[in-house]
Symmetry: C2
Subunit: 461 residues, 2 copies
């Protein structure tokens, strides 16, 4: 963005007045930086510019725009121009474009693309078949394949021929039998180390790490990271190769999934676009949903406190300890839920581990609760109006609340995952709201036991 703001005005002028110069600019400036600048134009200006440029120059800029910018600009361009540009894009970026265009418009452009580049159109339909966050949707169909019985030299030649028509890096050659059955792969590295007239079969690796097309992209990312792969084939149950997933898309997936997780943890419905590009109305909706749910949830704190009114009447000042006590539960609960959610996201924690976690968190809650209890006990006694029995009530309540916070906070994400929901839904504010009501109930019942003389007959159930 810094480059864009430095060079902005002049370049914008050149881009607007003389689209032919873009070819020269492309050689000087990384297309990513040109995309930054085009992204700063008004959408109609950008659309006009891209439509006037030769499609092969427009494509590298267009495919580097943010997803939402691509959609916005494509809607303002003639469908023919979009189809022309799409035909020059990398297959996975092309498929992405169609997934965020309005459906009718996407279909119109796809029909035009069928005239321009029928193979590309077919590929889009193939990739679009799969759910948006699946391996199938993430893959590109631009991979190099050869028959298993060729020589290393002709496999290298196949790579060269592919590179002449594609802008992407190639790491591997896939050996496939008729029917696209994947039988092995050889890396560029393997081929460079082999002799040119050696049969490719000599150097084929057959223990291939692949993923099925339905697999969720987070799991794909995990697997590629684990095996340090730059590219991984997508293979169906009949060993048919459907495409390959490259590491640059995985980096994007990791960032995008992480943003979603963090937003959910902060009780915001995930936004699809950056902060400043999100409209005010979208924010109100995405934040409002959770803010209202949590607000309704907190009604129960008021209901519970009102219900136990006789207790709070009987113990002067007790109601003033409520926020202090329940927040300890919310805080310990959010620590536990965060640890478990992240542990599950990176694959360290499995559903079957729940009982080990439960024991561990209960023990941790006990120790942390005792720590807070000691401080809380001393704190109460600092006030002359309170006696040791109330200090003891506060101390025991803290232990109970922190243990509840730790166990509820740790178990809720696991339960959510078990029933097929995203564990990150058990956000910090959500756990806090849940634990708040439990905290009040614990407080009152501990008081009933410890201070039974004071409270004789005052505690409702």
């Amino acid at each position: 963005m810094r480059l864009a703001s430095l060079l902005g005005p002049e370049l914008k002028q050149i881009l607007k007045e003389d689209p032919d110069q873009v070819r020269e600019l492309l050689e000087e400036i990384h297309p990513e930086d040109l995309a930054d600048i085009v992204g700063e134009l008004e959408p109609d200006e950008a659309a006009e510019l891209l439509a006037r440029m030769p499609a092969e120059d427009a494509a590298p800029i267009f495919e580097r725009l943010e997803d939402d910018e691509q959609g916005e600009i494509a809607e303002l361009m003639p469908p023919e121009s979009v189809a022309q540009i799409a035909s020059e894009m990398a297959p996975d970026d092309r498929a992405d474009l169609f997934s965020f265009l309005p459906e009718a418009m996407g279909e119109e452009i796809l029909e035009k693309l069928e005239d321009v580049d029928p193979v590309a159109a077919e590929e889009v339909r193939e990739i679009e078949k799969w759910p948006e966050t699946s391996a199938g949707h993430l893959m590109t169909t631009a991979y190099v394949h050869v028959a298993p019985d060729v020589t290393v030299a002709s496999a290298v030649e196949a790579v060269r021929a592919h590179l002449e028509n594609h802008d992407e890096n190639i790491y591997n050659v896939y050996a496939i039998e008729p029917g696209d059955k994947l039988v092995g792969l050889a890396s560029i590295r393997d081929m460079l180390l082999a002799k040119p007239y050696q049969p490719l079969g000599d150097i084929l690796r057959t223990n291939i790490i692949s993923v099925p097309p339905e697999l969720d992209q987070e799991e794909v990312a995990r697997r590629m990271a684990k095996y340090d792969l730059n590219v991984m084939p997508v293979v169906d149950e009949k060993s048919t190769i459907l495409g390959v997933i490259t590491i640059d898309d995985i980096v994007d997936v990791l960032t995008q999934e992480q943003t979603e997780d963090v937003q959910k943890l902060g009780a915001v419905e995930p936004l699809d676009v950056p902060y400043f590009k999100t409209t005010f109305l979208t924010f109100i909706k995405k934040r409002g949903v959770w803010l209202f749910i949590l607000f309704f949830g907190e009604f129960f704190t008021q209901t519970a406190l009102r219900h136990y009114d006789p207790v709070f009447e009987a113990i002067k000042g007790a109601a003033y300890y409520v926020p202090l006590l329940i927040s300890a539960g919310g805080n310990s609960g959010s620590q536990s839920s965060t640890l478990i959610i992240r542990g599950m996201a990176v694959g360290e924690i499995k559903l079957g581990d729940w009982w080990r976690i439960l024991i561990r968190e209960a023990a941790m809650g006990l120790v942390l609760g005792i720590g807070l209890a000691i401080v809380g006990f001393a704190r109460v006694l600092m006030y002359p109006e309170q006696h040791a029995d109330f200090a003891l009530t506060v101390a025991i309540t803290l232990i109970g609340i922190v243990m509840t916070g730790c166990t509820v906070g740790a178990m809720l994400p696991i339960v959510l995952k078990r029933v097929g929901m995203d564990p990150a839904t058990s956000s910090t504010p959500f756990i806090a709201s849940l634990v708040d009501v439990l905290g009040i109930v614990i407080f009152v019942h501990v008081a009933k036991i410890v201070m039974h003389a004071v409270l004789a007959g005052a505690v409702p159930h």
Copy 2:
């Protein structure tokens, strides 16, 4: 992990009894999976096994163990064996190993390494010079360089020669002048497309995207993701190439930085190791710090409530609304802080944007606050004991609290970043604690204005 538990017992037996078979296993099973299995052995068993294996077989397994496992096992092995294995490791993994060994032991092994492989030892010292989360520490010194005036064929030959001694992928050849001054690069792709006897100079790219060695790894990751790079050179201010950073390390950095951010957001001091490998004591420390800080912070809610006792005495039941009201502030504040923290982490939000954010968040707080106020107003009137003036107090308080939550939640991460702290320190629980006290003050002062008749003379300042 699944493979490990399936094949575990038998393989463990083979690994223990006959380390020579490991070579055969290495051809059958991915070293990553063997590392999983070795990681499940007791540390002393793993140390004995790795020490007995030929170093070139042990290295691919050892370098794939978790960081903490590597440290633990290395401490149990003879320093000579560790040095032997280290000499066979990739330069960046090797440097990593030394960064988590106890210093005295690291120095002892490094001295042994100097005998085995002086170049490797020198590289470790070079990489270790840089801070642990910097580009310099992340780089590998295993890159291919040639003089700018060679032919494409001899550059390819340099790649081939390098590959024979290194297990890593190579994407580029770097053209350097005497003094290691980087003047250009050619990708394998460029070289495959060029003619073998063409001068390399014909195809050299000179607009190179590089990073300085001091740059933080998060910014390195951002830059590589932005430009879709698989490898990026690290270059000092004199254009001297120091090493290159590869994408597989970036994937690890992203995951590690994200885990840290999420843990901070949940008010846990970042853990360096997975949930089940973290000791109980470490958890108590890493969670206890924040739990106590937040607990002390919440003391102020009790102090404030006690201070305003006459108000709560005068308005029957008002104290029971406190958790409901202050949690609305905490929730809206955590939404704002999460959005801003994440926006800054991915580079969408800069410090200079603070005033735009402030205006936006205040407006959002106003609208969301009015929404909650309407619901809150209705809720209070459901109780026969409360009158419209108290319902109005609750409504106005909600607007004030939600606006406070949004603006404080949004500004705090920016202020933290400004003073050089990690914005993620302003965790959800931290924002909630901060906003809780403000909420009580707002509540009492709104009540004072709206219900002045009821409260005549009852409000302390």
